[in-house]
């Protein structure tokens, strides 16, 4: 099926991906630019456009811990790269 993601604002939003956020930073998810199945999985776990996120821990190239809809989620950097965020 559709393996590649097609993200119109890729260039612009790359700078604001979840992966670039520091520990303690908060923001709002703008879009999830990922393969469709991954996006669906993230959505089921609560990461959808418009939701508030808070980064609990993020360092080096290890996984991140974020708080979304009251739950702590651990996601790898590759995945966090695909989540565009508006920092607040």
């Amino acid at each position: 099926m559709k393996k590649n993601c097609w993200c119109l604002r890729k260039k612009l939003s790359e700078r604001n991906s979840l992966a670039t956020m520091k520990s303690g930073q908060k923001g709002k998810v703008v879009s999830v630019c990922s393969r469709s199945r991954m996006a669906g999985r993230l959505a089921a776990m609560g990461i959808t456009p418009g939701v508030d996120v808070e980064v609990l821990s993020s360092s080096g190239d290890g996984p991140l811990v974020v708080v979304v809809r009251g739950a702590r989620m651990c996601l790898c950097r590759n995945m966090a790269d695909k989540v565009q965020v508006d920092p607040t």
Binding site: S31, S36, G40, A44, G50, S57, P63, R72
Partner: protein, 726 residues
Amino acid sequence: MPKNLTIALAGNPNAGKTTLFNALTGARQHVGNYPGITVEKREGVICTLDTEVHVMDLPGTYSLTAYSQEELVARNYLAEERPEVVVDVLDATCLERNLYLAVQFLEMGIPLVLALNMVDSLPGKGISIDSGRLSSLMRLPVVETVGRRGIGKEKLLEAVVNQAAERQGRWEPLRLSYGPDLDPVLDQMAADIEKADFLSDKYAPRWIALKYLEEDEEIFQLCAENPALNAGLYKASSRVSEHCQKTLNMHPEAIIADYRYGYIASILKQGVISTTTDIRDRVDFSDKLDQVLTHRVFGPSIMVFILYALFHFTFAVGEVPMGWVESFFAWLAGTTASLLPDGLFRSLIVDGIIGGVGGVLGFVPLILVMFLGITFLEDSGYMARMAYMLDRVFRIFGLHGSSVVPFIVSGGIPGGCAVPGVLAARTLRSPKEKLATLLTAPYMACGAKVPVFILLTAAFFPNSAALVMFLLTLSAWGIALCVAKILRSTVIRGKSTPFVMELPPYRMPTLLGVMLHTWERGWQYIKKAGTVILAISILIWALMTFPRLPHDQVEHFETERQELLVLQENTTTDAARAALADRLTALDNREVRDGLLHSVAGRLGTGLETISGLAGFDWRTNIALLGGVAAKEVIVSTLGTVYSLGEVAAEDSGSFSRRLAADPAWNPIRALSLMVFVLTYAPCFVTVVAIAREASWKWAAFSVVFNTMVGFVLAVAVYQIGNLIR
């Protein structure tokens, strides 16, 4: 009112579903596996005055789309078994996300009752929930529960019985609107599905259309069987997908999720949920703990310390009952030997069955204690933190944070089993990482290898048993990771794939939960000892007994024995009599040894001695190692049998490890080399079958040959270098 009721418990992982299940059913439950997969199948019965309620504990899932094995199992159970009511267990502290699954149940149409679980944690978080309002807005029974203390279970049961009586098994799919872009397409697809009468016995047409848009793998597969229908569905879905991505920059899946969360938010906003204090300013207890336990420096050190403490706990507590079980089997062997007449049958019972199965069962107390510790770590939420902390390391070796689970299940903390470990690797979506995990998980110290280590450490490193075990576990991880890296940069090269998991809040595990879980795992081990190991023990005993010594050789021994006995009768001095008794014993031993050498197993073992000698293994060890390819438990039992065949009387021999320590042919280096080999050589037969099922027979054969080579090289290195240093 129905006399017999079947209900299913469903919910997000970590919503306290199993705890509530335990509270409802108590010990009246049964755990098995779904055929062919390792997802646990947990069933129980509740008896009320006039109803017998059969409860099925479904695996925890976030959605009903087939992203993983768990979701598929849960969905297929609901579609095929059609339980009268589904109880969706919700973590009240995380209501919005938990309701996402509830909405999907409603869309499926299944009769639902919501259990608002863990309501006792709400005040601490400054949240209050009006469950009555939630109930009237969603038009569903909602019951507040606290699973760990069993609060609300009667009310829940009452609600379930009422809901079942009211719905009478009727499915009433909820129709959510997915907006102007998707609704027309969904309607059209649903109409097509309805016309084709496709899967109409299981799912509503609109539900299938939705799953098609969500790119559900199983629905795709099922639809592919109906090419005429599939062509139309594919065309419609790809057109709408393209359209959505162009105009909204979103996949249909994201839009669907968005509308579901929109529906949930519209309900919650109507006075269902309110926060009394600003929770953002509070630091959660779990977060506070995490600041220490997953700290960049302290975290890993604490993890290593916890694992080490687990070993100490296991050995200190498990040793005593293990002694009891051991002496029980020694007594049983002795008594049976004295009751039965000498001959093949006695040998089969005493050496084959009691020696083999007893050797394996002797480790039950130790394994129970170890499972107790592991279950505690799992239920408390610490295991997920371990995966999180190890992901950083795993990525370097071309694996995944999620590879931790197969590794740990396989015996990353000693006591696991590679079979469920290999099957747990299914959750890895990337084929390359999955393959690397499949091939390296069997290096872990599984529960069947542990007895070998315990035996050898007790014999040769009696004062530092825990330390040696700990170092062996670390080596298992080291070897697995290095081999993974080698595989990932040679035969299975490729980019890594993303992963996501929830870190559940820290919770004190319930006593009942820990006990039940420990017992289940221990019971599986015991069952294996009673079936597979029993059969293999008998087979190996036969291999070690047949073909028997030719008649003339037996006669030769017999005449020599008669001569000695005559001499013994005619001697007068005690010293001479003792010397003759020694010669008699030596003669008996020689006969047994010659018999063993003459058998199939003996010939195989001796044949391999030229090569295995490099690693310090003699023919007896070879026999045990060959048996270990069938099942690793067999190593200890076979060693026991091989050596007990050489004993004159089973009852006056000391414990097996003491006998090994006293054997001049053995030394610590040989023991170390054997432990390294056992840790790394070919996976057991069942694991090989599992690998073949998950990957292919080609990779399964590869794992047997490759792992044995790795094991042999390492064992030779240990033995040769060790002897040089000595």
